[in-house]
Each structure stands twice: as C-alpha cells, then as structure tokens.
C-alpha cells in the first residue's frame, strides 16, 4: 500500500503515519489511535478501525482476532450538545 493513501478519512490519517507507528513497535489499535488520531474523528472509527485492525494483523503476522480492540465509546453517532442539553427526565 502507498504511504499517501488515506486510511482515516475523518482525521486525514495516511497509511504512512500508521506504518511508522507500527515500525516503532506499537502493537494495538488503541496505541495507533492515540499516536495518529486514526478513528478519533466524526465517525469514531466505524470506517477505518476494521482496515487498521487488518493492517496490524498483517504487520505482526497475527490473525485479526488476536489484535486487541479498543473500547467503543458512546455516543454511537454524533449528537448536538443542544439536543443533549434539552433532554429532561420523564
């Protein structure tokens, strides 16, 4: 894969940035996320996490199930603060 290919479209993270983190010895998606911001954007990794997981597995000659998956954090999709603020208890 070419270094300039964009893997995380929300945060403009390229394969080159991810490859460099892998070459430094980082082995988990959580580390890649913290170092490159991959998967931290508007879609929260729903697009790129699968791709990054696959590349980590390939890089370390593991199966994809062996790669540690990060915590999925709420909310599932973006929510306006105004909408959140207007919520009231029944």
């Amino acid at each position: 894969m070419k270094d300039e290919i964009i893997i995380c479209r929300c945060e403009d993270v390229t394969w080159g940035e991810i490859r460099r983190a892998l070459e430094k010895g980082y082995t988990t998606l959580d580390e890649i996320k913290r170092i490159t911001r991959g998967g931290m954007g508007r879609c929260q990794g729903t697009t790129c996490h699968r791709i990054i997981l696959g590349e980590i597995a390939k890089f370390y000659h593991k199966s994809i199930e062996e790669v540690v998956v990060p915590t999925f954090r709420p909310p599932t999709k973006p929510v306006k603060l105004g909408t959140l603020a207007s919520d009231v208890d029944d």
């Binding site: 954007g41 709420p74 603060l81 603020a85």
Partner: protein, 383 residues
C-alpha cells in the same frame, strides 16, 4: 520472557509521570532503568485527561510546580524531538460568587508574588477575550495568557520514546503483581512469571498507586475517583482560552485540532476505579456549556470517556521517599493535575533519586510526612 533479571531503578506506570521520570533519570546519567506498564503508554489518566496546563492555583507549591513546568513545556517539542502541540492561549477562570471573587483576589496576589503573569479582570474584559461568552451571573475573572494546552498522548509518547533512546527499557502490557521487601527495604518486583531484582521502586501508577503501596505493606494517603469528560467534532475556532469555573464546576477548551473538550467533577462520585461513561454526565455537561457558550448548542459531541483522579488530602502531589520502606519512592496524588505538573515534578524526582537533593525545595512541603505533621495547605482551585 523479559531480557532482564536485575535493574537499578524500576518505575511502575507508563503514564506521563512514569515516562517523564524515566527520561529525566536517564538524562541525568541513571543506568539500568526499567519501566513497567500494565497496559499501553498513555492508557490511564494521562491519555484521558483534559489536556490543559495552568499556573492559576491557590496553593503555593502547585503554582511553583506549574510555573516551572510551563517553562519546560515551552521547549519540550524540541528537547524530545516530538511535536507536543503546545498552544498557550491562556486560562480564563470565571468567578460567579462573592466567595470566589475574594478567593481569586488572594490567588492572583499569590501568583503575582511568584512571578506568574496573571491578572484579575472585569466581566467586560472577559467578554473581549471570549466574545461568545454568556456573561450572565459572572462577577469577574482571572486570566493568565501563558496557560494553555498540550497534547497528552504526544507528550506521553515523546517522553517514553526519548527515555528509550537514552537506554531505558519499557515493558508495556506487563503488570507488576508483587513487590518483595526484606527488613523494610525493596528487593525485587515480580510480574506474572518473572522476578527482577532492584533496590529502588518508583510508584508512578496514578489511579492504581494505592494498590502498589499495598504491595509493600503501606497505606498511601490517596484515593481514586472517576472524572468524566467529552469531546466534540472539530469546528472553526470559537474561542481561544480554557474556560474554567470552580463554583459552577466545569472546564472547557477548544484544542488546536478544532475539537472542544469539556469535563466536570461530580461531588457525589464514589471513590474507586470505575471508568465507565454515563448519560447523565453528557447531559449535565451539555447543559452547563451550552449555557456558558450558547453557540455550542450547534456543535456535536462525538465521544465521551472517563479517567481516574488520584486525590491526596490537600490536592497537591505527594513526592519523595517513603519513610517506612527503603528504596520506595512515590510520585502520586496529583489530584487531576498530573499532566500539567509532570515536566518539573519528574525532574525533581530524578534529582532526588540520583543525588538525594532537589533543585527546588520540596522535601518538607510535598513529602508524605506532611499529613502526619498536620501542615496542610488545602488547594482550593480544583474542578
């Protein structure tokens, strides 16, 4: 299998405190330094923090540590050869009660006496600094232009990688399970499978520092408590400084990346190590911040999470040698300010460990013995 059987210094914790201590020890010439982290670097409180750095405190030692840390932060990208994304756009601390106005006047006098560039300002001036601010109920504010933001992930990895370049060995995903002592002296640490002999252990385990204390049979005067936080999508620049209030209990800052990060404490939060996220928090946070900056109603939250404050009785860190266990050092109890105080704290810890003395006088001010001596100066300015 680890490659080592023996170390001169073992550090427990791969957050900003552990990694920066490792770096400063190696920089000062320390050898055979090994750091153990049960998860990955920046997986605990550092990677979960609000990313702010401020010098506006009410307790003298916090002010001094913060002032000296900012000086180091200012050259840290260069020193560690890693962009830490430092951004000094100030902290605007908002006063909503008469009690706060009086406290802030005292804080400003103290901070100015310590050469911190801070001023007490009017509501009009606050509005000039942050035009979208809703000033309803606001009585006054304080502003320090050299406070700001740095990227905690980058800073943590920067220290960790720089330490490794200087010879420090870092083992991630390796938990210390046991610490061996003999005649109240540190002898060794044990992982799941192996034993590493060492005369010195540095407890930099943040939210889990109490557990490490128990391994050497001491009850450390700290507890952990969940603090929640959320972040929005990146948007165009809306306001520059960190907005902070102690009485209304919030902090909120737009990062250089454009996303807006905000958090608040919960006075009813139980002690413990829960780091789950709650809907109630997200709603309360949104209600607070859309009141203070109404423009935020249109901005979407994309993620929420939580981390642990490691709280000390006076909300100031506990640094130094443990009086009962030879070779046991602590850098704990940062009470939510570990990231911003790390640069100078780690330098002082390294000096203390390698030479027995420190370039700034902290021995009788931040040591663990202060609680028994009853010399508490409570930090009033904590969210």
């Amino acid at each position: 299998m680890l490659m080592i059987k023996r170390a001169d210094i073992v550090i427990i914790g791969g957050g900003i405190i552990g990694c920066s201590i490792a770096y400063n020890l190696a920089k000062m010439g320390g050898k055979n330094i090994v750091l153990f982290e049960k998860n990955s670097l920046a997986s605990g409180a550092t990677g979960r923090c609000g990313a702010g750095i401020r010098q506006q405190f009410g307790a003298e030692m916090n002010c001094i540590l913060a002032r000296e840390s900012i000086k180091i932060f200012e050259n840290l990208s260069q020193e560690l050869d890693y962009d830490i994304e430092l951004n000094q756009n100030g902290y605007l601390v908002l006063a909503y009660t008469e009690r706060e106005v009086n406290q802030f006047k005292k804080n400003v006098a103290l901070e100015q006496s310590l050469d911190i560039d801070v001023r007490f300002i009017t509501v009009k001036e606050a509005k000039e600094i942050v035009p979208p601010l809703n000033t309803e109920g606001l009585l006054a504010a304080t502003f320090c232009p050299t406070d700001g933001h740095a990227n905690p992930f980058n800073t943590n990895f920067a220290y960790g990688e720089a330490a490794q370049r200087l010879g420090v060995k870092i083992y991630t995903f390796t938990e210390i399970k046991e610490i061996e002592t003999e005649n109240n002296k540190i002898m060794a640490v044990k992982t799941e499978k192996e034993k590493i002999l060492t005369p010195i252990v540095v407890n930099a385990a943040g939210g889990y520092s109490g557990t490490i204390g128990k391994m050497v049979g001491v009850d450390l005067p700290v507890y952990s408590q969940r603090h929640q936080i959320l972040i929005t999508e990146p948007v165009d620049p809306l306001f520059k400084p960190m907005l902070m209030s102690f009485s209304r209990n919030f902090y909120c800052q737009q990062t250089p990346h454009g996303s807006i990060i905000m958090g608040c404490g919960n006075p009813d939060e139980p002690k413990g190590d829960d780091i789950g996220s709650s809907w109630q928090f997200a709603r309360e946070m949104a209600q607070k911040m859309t009141t203070v900056v109404p423009l935020l109603k249109e901005v979407s939250m994309v993620r929420q999470w939580a981390g642990l404050y490691n709280v000390s009785p006076d909300a100031q860190p506990i640094l130094g040698k443990h009086p009962q266990v030879g070779g046991f050092y602590v850098a704990i109890g940062f009470s939510g300010h570990g990231f911003m105080l790390a640069p100078v704290t780690s330098k002082l810890m390294a000096e203390l460990i390698l030479t027995g003395r420190t370039s700034l006088s902290i021995e009788d001010k931040l040591d663990i013995g202060r609680f028994e001596r009853g010399e508490l100066i409570l930090e009033p300015s904590v969210v």
